[in-house]
C-alpha cells in the first residue's frame, strides 16, 4: 500500500474548480503564461500527472475522466520518450496534436461564453416594453405552454407512476466480522509481537476501503483481546499508532 495514512493533510488539492481534465490542462497552460498555440505536450503531461497523483491521494472521488486523461498522457509521454517506431498505429504526435486542438477549442469556447455574457443584455442594458397591452375586445386565449413545460409535465407523470425505489449504493467497506475471522486465521502463524498493519490484506483497492479495513481490524483486535484470544500493546515511544498483538498461549 503506497498510501501513508498518518501523514497530516497539509496539501489540500481539489478538482472542484475544474470542469474536466481538459479544463485542468488548460489552466495548467494558462498558469505558465505560454502561448496556447505553442503548448509543449511533454512538460504539460508531466504537470498533469504530478497534479493527479497529489489529488488521487486526497480526493478519492476523482471522476473517471481525469484518470482516462492521465492514462492518455502517460501513454503519450512514454511514446515521446522512446524512439518513434515505423507504422505506429497510435502515433504520439497525432495524439498530442488532437490534445492541443481540444485544449485550444475549449479555451475558445470559454472566451466566447465570457464575451457573450459581457454583451448588452435585455432587462439589464436595454429594455422591453413594460407590459403587454390589450387593444382588442375580441380576445382569443393562446395557452402559454412551451416544450419545456410539456416535457416537464410528462416527466412528472412518469415519475409519479414509478414506484419510489430507494437505491442504496453498494459500498465496499470491510466488516469487523471479516477482520476477526482473518486475525483468527493468522493466529497460528503469530509467534511474536506483530504490527496489526502487517496482518491486513494487501489487495485493498482504494483509500476509503483501506480506512475501513484498519478501523475494522482495530475493533476486531479489541474484541479478540476481550475474549482472551490475544494481547494488545501499544508502543508509546512510537509516534505512529503502532498496535501490536500476540497470541495468548
Amino acid at each position: 500500500m503506497g498510501i501513508d495514512l498518518y501523514k497530516p493533510k497539509v496539501l489540500k488539492l481539489s478538482l472542484e474548480g475544474f470542469d474536466g481534465p481538459i479544463d485542468l490542462l488548460l489552466s495548467l497552460v494558462k498558469d505558465q503564461k505560454i502561448d496556447i498555440t505553442k503548448i509543449q505536450i511533454l512538460p504539460l503531461a508531466e504537470q498533469y500527472l504530478i497534479f493527479l497523483k497529489k489529488v488521487v491521494k486526497e480526493d478519492i472521488e476523482l471522476a473517471a475522466e481525469y484518470l482516462v486523461m492521465g492514462a492518455i498522457l502517460t501513454y503519450i509521454k512514454s511514446k515521446l520518450l522512446l524512439p518513434i517506431e515505423e507504422d505506429e498505429i497510435d502515433n504520439p504526435e497525432k495524439l498530442s496534436q488532437i490534445l492541443k486542438f481540444q485544449i485550444l477549442k475549449l479555451e475558445t469556447f470559454q472566451k466566447l461564453a465570457k464575451n457573450l455574457f459581457l454583451r448588452r443584455r435585455l432587462g439589464k442594458d436595454f429594455f422591453s416594453k413594460g407590459v403587454d397591452e390589450i387593444f382588442s375586445k375580441k380576445v382569443k386565449f393562446k395557452y402559454d405552454i412551451n416544450l419545456y413545460d410539456l416535457t416537464k409535465v410528462y416527466s412528472n407523470i412518469l415519475l409519479k407512476d414509478e414506484k419510489e425505489v430507494i437505491t442504496i449504493a453498494y459500498s465496499n467497506l470491510y466488516t469487523v466480522e471479516k477482520a476477526i475471522e482473518n486475525i483468527k486465521k493468522n493466529l497460528t502463524k503469530i509467534q511474536k509481537w506483530k504490527n496489526i498493519m502487517s496482518l491486513i490484506p494487501n489487495d485493498i483497492k482504494n483509500y476509503l476501503e483501506l480506512k475501513s479495513v484498519i478501523a475494522s481490524y482495530f475493533v476486531a483486535s479489541l474484541e479478540l483481546s476481550k475474549d482472551g484470544k490475544i494481547f494488545i500493546k501499544q508502543n508509546n515511544d512510537d509516534k505512529n499508532f503502532n498496535l501490536q498483538i500476540i497470541k495468548n498461549n
Partner: protein, 193 residues
C-alpha cells in the same frame, strides 16, 4: 441622474420616452422629474413627445398625473380582430396534452390509466378547441374507442418539425427531468456523472 444639466432637451425627451415605454405602470410625473427637474420644461418635453406620436398607431396619453403609451383609437378599432392573449394551460390539460403527444394514438381510458384519475369533461375538448389534438382512428378493440393524436398546429406551437423531435425518454433522463434523486449512499469509487 448625475449630469442631467449637461444632457440636452433632445436626449431628455428620448429618456422620458424610453422610461415610459419600459415601465410596468403609467408613470407619474414626479418620477419623470428625475430626468428634468424644471417642471415647466418637463411639461414642454412631454407635450412635444405627445405631438410626435399624434400621427402614429400609438399615443402617449395622460391619465390623471401619469403618462402611458396606448394604441390609438383609430387603430384599435381596426385591430379589433381577434387578439391573442396568453394564459397558462391548466395542469390537467398540460398532462393530457403530454400524454397524447408521447403515447399517440391514445384513447381516453388509456389516458385515465396513465394519470390514475378520471378525465373531467371538457379537458380534451379544450385541447381540441385550441387545435392541438384531434381524433385519430378508432381502435379495433371492442367498443371501437376513439383515439387522440396531435396536430400540425401542435408541432408549430412547440417549434417541432416532426413528432420524432420530441425529446425521448433517454433524453429526458439525461436532461435531469426524469430522475429520482433518492440515492442514499453513493459509492465514491463509482464514476457516476
Amino acid at each position: 441622474m448625475e449630469n442631467k444639466n449637461t444632457i440636452n432637451d433632445d436626449l431628455k425627451k428620448k429618456i422620458i420616452e424610453a422610461f415610459i415605454f419600459a415601465s410596468k405602470k403609467p408613470v407619474h410625473i414626479s418620477l419623470l422629474q428625475d430626468f428634468e427637474n424644471d417642471k415647466n420644461n418637463l411639461e414642454n418635453l412631454i407635450k412635444e413627445l405627445q405631438e410626435k406620436y399624434i400621427n402614429s398607431g400609438i399615443h402617449l396619453i395622460k391619465i390623471d398625473q401619469s403618462f402611458v403609451f396606448r394604441t390609438s383609437d383609430e387603430v384599435s378599432g381596426l385591430l379589433n380582430i381577434e387578439q391573442e392573449l396568453t394564459k397558462p394551460l391548466s395542469r390537467a390539460a398540460s398532462e393530457i396534452l403530454a400524454i397524447i403527444a408521447y403515447h399517440q394514438p391514445v384513447t381516453r381510458s388509456q389516458i385515465e390509466n396513465i394519470r390514475g384519475v378520471t378525465l373531467s369533461k371538457g379537458t380534451i375538448d379544450l385541447l381540441f378547441e385550441v387545435g392541438w389534438v384531434k381524433p385519430g382512428k378508432r381502435l379495433k378493440t371492442p367498443g371501437r374507442p376513439l383515439t387522440w393524436i396531435t396536430t400540425t398546429s401542435f408541432l408549430d406551437h412547440f417549434g417541432l418539425s416532426s413528432l420524432t423531435d420530441l425529446p425521448g425518454l433517454e433524453e429526458l433522463k439525461l436532461s435531469g427531468l426524469l430522475s429520482h434523486e433518492n440515492i442514499l449512499f453513493s459509492d465514491p469509487t463509482n464514476d457516476e456523472e
